[in-house]
């Protein structure tokens, strides 16, 4: 038992309150643009932390988060849209029966989004975890693509390529950061539990993990399903932030972004995933200048739209070549570490 457990719990509560106070300040004083960025960061934190659980912690290289985010986004949007709104949106084919009449509050739709995505992850896990390594990557990629193709073709459920419009903008800083904190807390708890230990064991040596009696199949399933749950919720929050969704939003590109985030932060580190989400969103906004014309006073450099993604791709390659372990490696932030650094209450060590 950590002798500093009480202090650390207190610090965690204080830290959470500090974040919430900042959210409150940002919500009341920030510009619309700043609030949007903060919302994006929170959603990316949710997606990256849960993606890291399967990819980084358990070491199963899934490329399917776009499928879960898509399913979550569609589920929650279809649940919050009113029947009248659905009638307007579904112009080619009407919405099928139970969906066309149901309207639920935002929170119910989010939980439903998480559950439906978790269910998909669970079902997908059976075939997926028969494969390993890069085959697993390709199979999950295939599933991601199949989900997108289905979203494109089931006109009476998803409205096909037209997508859903006029989704109410329910996602506020409180919702997004609230869920971000809950996700970080729950995923961190899971990683520290015996289940998390087993997941890490699978990552380092699957055969050895199996040999010491860990049921590798079910632990992978647990990680994958949990990850799917939070990605579904993230998808729901995303849909209610941007208010318009269509299948093109959930291509492999989304997975690529999440991959950069967790690789940058360090595969296997929740702290890294959070840092990565910050850096990626903030850096992405900062890098906008390369897409826009630049005025140097004496001459003007025309902006090159799309240059940002070139830079991000290079960053990913460079990280892989020169700093494969990312910012955090597999280390985690802890209060003990911080207090040790600051030289307070060093009862440990």
């Amino acid at each position: 038992m950590d002798p500093n457990a009480n202090r650390n719990a207190l610090l965690s509560v204080l830290g959470t309150m500090l974040v919430l106070a900042m959210v409150h300040l940002a919500g009341s004083h920030g510009t619309e643009y700043q609030i949007r960025i903060l919302n994006n960061i929170a959603i990316f934190i949710i997606l990256a932390v849960s993606y890291n659980l399967i990819n980084g912690v358990t070491g199963q290289f899934s490329l399917a988060p776009n499928a879960f985010v898509a399913l979550g986004a569609y589920t929650s949007s279809l649940l919050t849209l009113t029947p009248a709104e659905k009638e307007i949106s579904f112009i080619i084919e009407p919405c099928i029966w139970p969906l066309s009449v149901i309207t639920t509050p935002f929170i119910v739709s989010l939980v439903a989004a998480g559950l439906v995505s978790a269910l998909l992850a669970f079902a997908m896990g059976f075939p997926v975890f028969r494969t390993r390594g890069d085959y697993l990557a390709i199979v999950t990629l295939g599933f991601g693509e199949v989900v997108r193709v289905i979203a494109n073709n089931t006109q009476s459920i998803t409205n096909g390529p037209l997508g859903l419009k006029g989704i109410a903008e329910h996602t506020t800083l409180w919702w997004s950061w609230g869920f971000a904190i809950v996700t970080i807390f729950l995923v961190a708890r899971l990683i520290r539990s015996s289940y998390g230990m087993a997941m890490k064991a699978i990552k380092y040596d699957e055969a050895a993990a199996e040999a010491v009696g860990i049921n590798t199949y079910w632990h992978k399933m647990l990680a994958f399903t949990t990850s799917g749950f939070f990605q579904g919720i993230g998808g729901g929050l995303l849909a209610h932030l941007i208010t318009t969704i269509s299948p093109t939003l959930f291509t492999f590109f989304l997975t690529f972004n999440l991959l950069i985030i967790i690789v940058m932060g360090g595969l296997g580190s929740t702290t890294g995933a959070v840092l990565g989400a910050f850096l990626f969103t903030w850096g992405g906004e900062w890098l906008r200048f390369v897409d826009e014309p630049m005025d140097l006073g004496f001459t003007e450099i025309p902006g090159i739209p799309g240059m940002r993604m070139v830079i991000f791709s290079c960053i990913l390659i460079f990280i892989m070549i020169f700093a494969r372990h990312g910012i955090m490696r597999t280390r985690e932030f802890s209060w003990n570490w911080l207090c040790g650094k600051l030289g307070i209450g060093g009862r440990l060590r």
Binding site: G59, F61, P127, R130, T131, R132, G133, D134, Y135, A137, I138, V139, L141, G142, F143, E145, V146, V149, I150, N152, N153, F252, F256, L259, V263, I304, P305, G306, M307, M309, V310, F312, S313, C314, L316, I317, M320, I321, R324
Partner: protein, 295 residues
């Protein structure tokens, strides 16, 4: 079902399938030798199309010169990619190499978007390939005849390199045991670069024929054929070149027949490949030709 209709679809399927097979050669060669899924292979194919496009349009080369130059340039691109991105991660865990490949793929796509622009460009099909013959009531576009023929030529060329040349022998050695091959005094990195070059040139040929089939090109055109070619490679047993070709043919025919027989499912066409992939990995993970599958 009418026989002519069926034959017509089979012809189309074989033409499409040989394109998949041609692109799959690169996947399967690279995977066979260094166990890397070269995610960027489809994008290499896209670059090949643009090289050919600019060769014809800007340098007004005759089409056959332009195509040959495009294949050479694409081979050079393949070597550059290997030396620049994959060589530094060769001894890293395989997942690192895979992430690098994903990065290279996005880099090529986005460089394509920045340099060539996102708007699709019409691809000038040489007259020789755009004719349509009528044989016994079947409409046979010249391209549909040429594609399998050229594919066969390239396939034999690749098989010749692998089985009859010294470089090919080195490739086969590396796929069995890279370290021992190195100890035998083979310049392993050079051989791997040659593998990338051959695979990329084959992809360029496939890409150019793809571009003539749907006469337009865009920077994201490589994604879907790239994935499908990978499926073809797995279908045929990854690492096996003849298998890749057969897998490609099977996939092409399956896809065309689905659209022909069940037109209402045409939208799910792109899902067929992945459905097949999942089934193959579940029930016959060694693929059709049955080579050993490393995990």
């Amino acid at each position: 079902m009418e026989l002519t209709f069926f034959l017509q679809q089979m012809i189309n399927g074989v033409a499409l399938g040989s394109l998949y097979g041609l692109i799959a050669i690169g996947y399967t060669m690279v995977y066979g030798i260094i166990r890397l899924i070269n995610f960027a292979h489809g994008d290499v194919m896209m670059m090949g199309c643009y090289f050919a496009y600019f060769g014809i349009l800007m340098f007004s080369m005759p089409w056959w010169v332009s195509f040959a130059v495009a294949m050479v340039l694409t081979a050079v691109l393949g070597i550059t990619m290997d030396k620049g991105a994959y060589l530094p991660v060769r001894n890293a865990p395989r997942i690192s190499a895979l992430i690098t490949a994903i990065g290279v793929s996005f880099l090529l796509e986005n460089v394509g978007l920045v340099v060539f622009g996102g708007r699709p460009k019409g691809f000038a099909t040489p007259a020789m390939f755009s004719e349509v013959y009528e044989v016994a009531g079947l409409m046979v576009p010249a391209l549909v005849v040429w594609t399998p023929l050229l594919t066969l030529v390239i396939l034999s060329g690749v098989l010749f390199i692998i089985h009859r040349t010294k470089t090919g022998r080195a490739m086969r050695c590396i796929s069995l045991d890279m370290e021992t091959t190195r100890l035998m005094g083979v310049d392993v990195n050079r051989i791997i670069s040659v593998t990338f070059a051959v695979g990329s040139a084959a992809a360029a040929a496939g890409g150019i024929m793809w571009a003539m089939r749907y006469p337009e090109i865009n920077p994201l055109m490589g994604i879907i054929p790239g994935f499908k070619a990978f499926v073809a490679a797995v279908l045929g047993g990854i690492g096996n070149i003849t298998g890749a070709m057969l897998g490609g043919l099977l996939l092409g025919v399956a896809e065309i027949l689905l659209v022909a027989l069940m037109p209402e499912l045409a939208g799910y066409r792109d899902a067929v490949a992945f459905g097949l992939l999942i089934l193959i990995l579940l029930f016959r993970p060694t693929g059709l030709m049955g080579t050993k599958l490393p995990d």
